[in-house]
Amino acid sequence: MKAQTDISISVINQAKNGDSVACGQLYHHFSKSMFSICMRMAGDRALAEDILHDAFITVFKNLPQLKQPEAVAGWIRRIVVNECIRQTSKQIKMYEWNSEAADIEDEKDTDWYKNISLARIHEAIKELPDGCRQVFVLYTMEGLTHKNISEAIGVSEGTSKSQYHRAKTLLKENIINYLKVANG
């Protein structure tokens, strides 16, 4: 991860000692990438800003306990993702989804997304319905398994899988529709 390498260890150590300028540098260094996670998980700017704020409160509070300053990026990311799960799981509603259809969909899966800009994919993820959006982001971008997700948000593993397939189908539909409109 690029953010990991270009923040100096001395800044992290100063932040650990409560130096407010170093804390500011740390925040500004990671705020963009962490906020993008929050936006994808929350789908809403106001909630995403609340999550980012609360996550960084936790970061600053627990920073003195960080033993490996070089692992700060992953450490902050985990705090942000946990905060996202905590604050968005309140709004998660899981809808029924036909998992057999999802399996068929998987077989037809092609590289349809490879010519789509990442910005468009990011926008389409934010537009996914609550529930399947969180499952999709946690699985594809945060590296959680369906077992981890089921434990984190309190659903069955099967539900997590089916919600992931639902999200994938909706994402594809959204982008294809968008391209149809964009290209007239």
Partner: protein, 237 residues
């Protein structure tokens, strides 16, 4: 993991398109700061006080080699006298040269003039220095931002839709709005380190956004085959 998951996982660091508003940091900073933030003005006052003290010290040190043994004895006795009579007025010779010259009168007047200029300077120049700093940041960033904006505005985009990049435009407008608000805060409350950082941060965000936009435009254009490049339009940022 399927192909889509692998693809998104590989590119997740390139998908940092969102920036939080400066209010998030303002709120965080208020809640987490342990020591009060000393404003630039305060630092300038401290610097001015140090300069005043240093020039006073220099003044005293410069005079010693000039003084003759007789004069030194006179100085010592004068010092003792003033110390006994008016202990509170010890710094008086520095600020009011007309009273009790320490050594030969033709040498005492010069350093006093220096001190006077130092004393007058901070009050008039602190605000100017802050304003100049803000103006410099503005000018430097504006030059780069305008160059980047011109590049984007002159790049043809080969899509049918005008609002393909509306998200970027919206974010850029929001940043401009935030910057305006920040500048009005600076005008109302004065500059401090936190506001200065935010001003730089917003301008950096604007630059990053324009850079990302330029990359996205190139991607869209590259993905449009030459034979399909019938419609083109220009972005008005």
């Amino acid at each position: 993991m399927d192909n889509l998951s692998n693809f998104l996982n590989d590119h997740r660091d390139e998908m940092d398109f969102e920036s939080p508003s400066p209010e998030v940091w303002q709120k965080l900073h208020k809640q987490t700061k342990k020591t009060p933030v000393v404003s630039i003005k305060k630092w300038l006052y401290v610097a001015a006080a140090c300069a005043l003290f240093a020039s006073g010290l220099l003044y005293l040190m410069q005079e010693k080699p000039v003084a003759t043994p007789g004069a030194l004895a006179e100085v010592n006795s004068t010092k003792k006298d003033t110390a006994i009579k008016t202990p509170v007025e010890q710094p008086v010779p520095v600020t009011e040269p007309t009273e009790t010259p320490l050594i030969a009168s033709n040498k005492t007047e010069q350093p006093v003039k220096k001190i006077k200029t130092i004393k007058e300077k901070p009050a008039r120049t602190i605000d100017n220095e802050v304003q100049m700093a803000v103006k410099n940041i503005d000018n430097n960033f504006n030059k780069i931002l305008n160059t980047q904006l011109n590049n984007i505005n002159q790049t043809p985009i080969y899509t049918a839709s005008n609002d393909l990049f509306s998200g970027f435009k919206k974010q850029y407008r929001q940043l401009e709005k935030d910057e305006k608000q920040l500048k009005s805060d600076i005008a109302s409350f004065g500059m401090n380190e936190q506001l200065l950082q935010q001003l730089i941060f917003i301008n950096q965000q604007k630059l990053n956004l324009l850079k990302d936009l330029q990359i996205e435009i190139s991607k869209v254009n590259n993905n449009t085959p030459a034979q399909e490049r019938t419609k083109q339009h220009y972005l008005k940022m």
